[in-house]
Amino acid sequence: MEKEELALRIEKIRRALEKEGIETDEEALKKDFQKYLDFDISPDEAELRILRKHGIMPRDAARKKIGEIGIEPISVTVSGKIVSINSAVSTVDGEERKRYYGIIGDDTGTIPFGAWNTDLSNLSKGDSVEIESAFVREWNGNPQLRITKKTRIGKTEEDFDVKFSQRASREANLADISERDRVSIKARILSIEEREITVRGESKTIYSGIMADESAKVQFTAWKDFGLKTGDIISADGAYVRSWKGVPQINLDEGMTIEKIEEDFPTMEELDAGKTMKIEDAENKTGMTDVIFEGTAIQIRNGSGLIFRCPNCRRVLQDGVCQVHGEVEGVPDLRIKAVIDDGTGAINTIIGKALTEKVLDKDIKKCLKEVRAKMDKGIIGKQIESVLEAMPVRIRGNLVSDDNGHTLIATDIEMVKDDPAERARHLIEEWGV
């Protein structure tokens, strides 16, 4: 960098700092600035970083159309319409914090935004806003807007015909999507149903169901009527992924274009049959819809069998006492908590009442009768152990995850009955051993 140019820069920074009442040593400033340059940082960014280090968010934020925003870390002012807005609570240093994130768009494009320390509860989807002095940062090669304390947001009357940016979406298999992705997918609608929901006091019709490609099934929600029907094969560009308990779900937003396509695609039956997978392949996923594992029930956990739940909160009672509601009249329920191990990995499963009845081949009434006759609540658990423990099972369900790891919420279970001799003969032939 030329000496004169450098001097001008330093002077500019010094004055900006002075305006905020910050005295600085020119030499120290020069040294600091040079250090950024030595690490291949552009002069513009170096200037910005130094100002920010001193707590100054440059006011002369560039007014930009959303489609023009690049990945340079600058401050911008944009106007647009909120395409989506969500909040999430996370714990930082033991303190609960609510952060907001979403997408804003104008007639040139869309961009994700996020706010860690700013309350955006007054903003809703569909609002037109002007966002002044938001900071652009890069994430996975795409720009995002970071809303900080210095950012001002005001609602406007302007309307926008939002053009969705294509830059952020990538082609993906349904097995390969994760939270906050924007993806371009091809899938067949396996089921769809209309639902009425209430969004901030207003009732709205949405469409939700299951879609699938060769790799996986995924739940989806369409936020407007795209005219989708069971069996349709669709191509959707820019679908937004959100997760529930780690299970990715596809959102088809209002502004999206969805095409119905006709091409070779697995049939409804093939897709519906579900995928049997190895547990080790599931371990690196945060969640999955409708998967099948085949393994051995190597442990039946405590708390399996006949339990009593609090009629108010469904918590399991300990000796007739709910930890929140005290002594209550318990509602009987059946469940199994088991560990399934297929030799490649192990996974916790929860098997609810209907399936537990199937495993035991009797209903809860009969279980209650037996328990009363024997005066022993534990006998049902013992029966479950005798039927399931060390036995090969095929278990189907939704894989969810939280801080305690993975759990398969079972939707079906059956004992595996194959003929070992048949398999042995087959292997001898196949391997020539």
Binding site: Q299, I347, A424, I428, V433
Partner: protein, 281 residues
Amino acid sequence: MMKRELAWRIFAEEYAASTLVETSEEEKSPTYVISPLGARMNRLFVVGTLVEVMNYGSDEEPIVKAVMADPTGHFYLNTGQYNQEAGFSLLRTDVPNFVAVVGKVHVYEPEPGVLRRYIRPELVKTVDESMRNRWIVDTVEFTKERIEAVKEALALEQPSPETLISLGIPKRLAIGAAKAVEHYGDVNINRYWSTISEALRYVLSEKEDETGEDAEMEVREILEAVAKGDDVYWKDLREAAKERGIKESLLESEIDRLIRQGVLYERKIGEVLRIDREDWN
């Protein structure tokens, strides 16, 4: 969150041949036994015939040592105060019986250079023959998978888990395979191929082996013919069988049957058999 240790399916022969133990100074970190085929085990799931149960403790506080057999050898089980429930289960089980056992690896070194491998059962359950057979076939499949992982590792000049994973070996096997090759050197893969072959025939033997008695007589004759004293070298045995036109697989399944009957035992696995004269006739 601690990841739950998976339960390895492994034949007694491979477990008994394991001499590599991985422990860590860190508290509560698991012990692993790494087999010649790279199974890096903390927990096992095995099914076989419970052949012996002994209580060295009291009725209330049992300390149980038990032996179970699979088609390839024996597993040694022990229980104490930490897995008393399993001890009671073993004591309740009639011997012999088919049992399924889930348990943790437990190694004991009574003197330097001598390693005893046990299983500390977490679960003992009586099962039927078809469950036992199913386990054998499952274990054959897992053994073959491990043979292939170790084969890949042996083919590499410097096998690292990362290289093995990049070759498509599951992570579950890659770490153990790399360590196994480093520790055991040139693993005798052929031996485990015969294990697989024998185990599969073992599952079929009850159903298909109708010429059993003739074959047994003939194999006994060969054994007598090639025995040096009570020792029979596998090499001699194979040659003699070949001359008489007996298929190797038949020879092996017959020898296996004789071992199960207790008239033969492997003095040096894969090399020397010894005839137990007391039970021979």
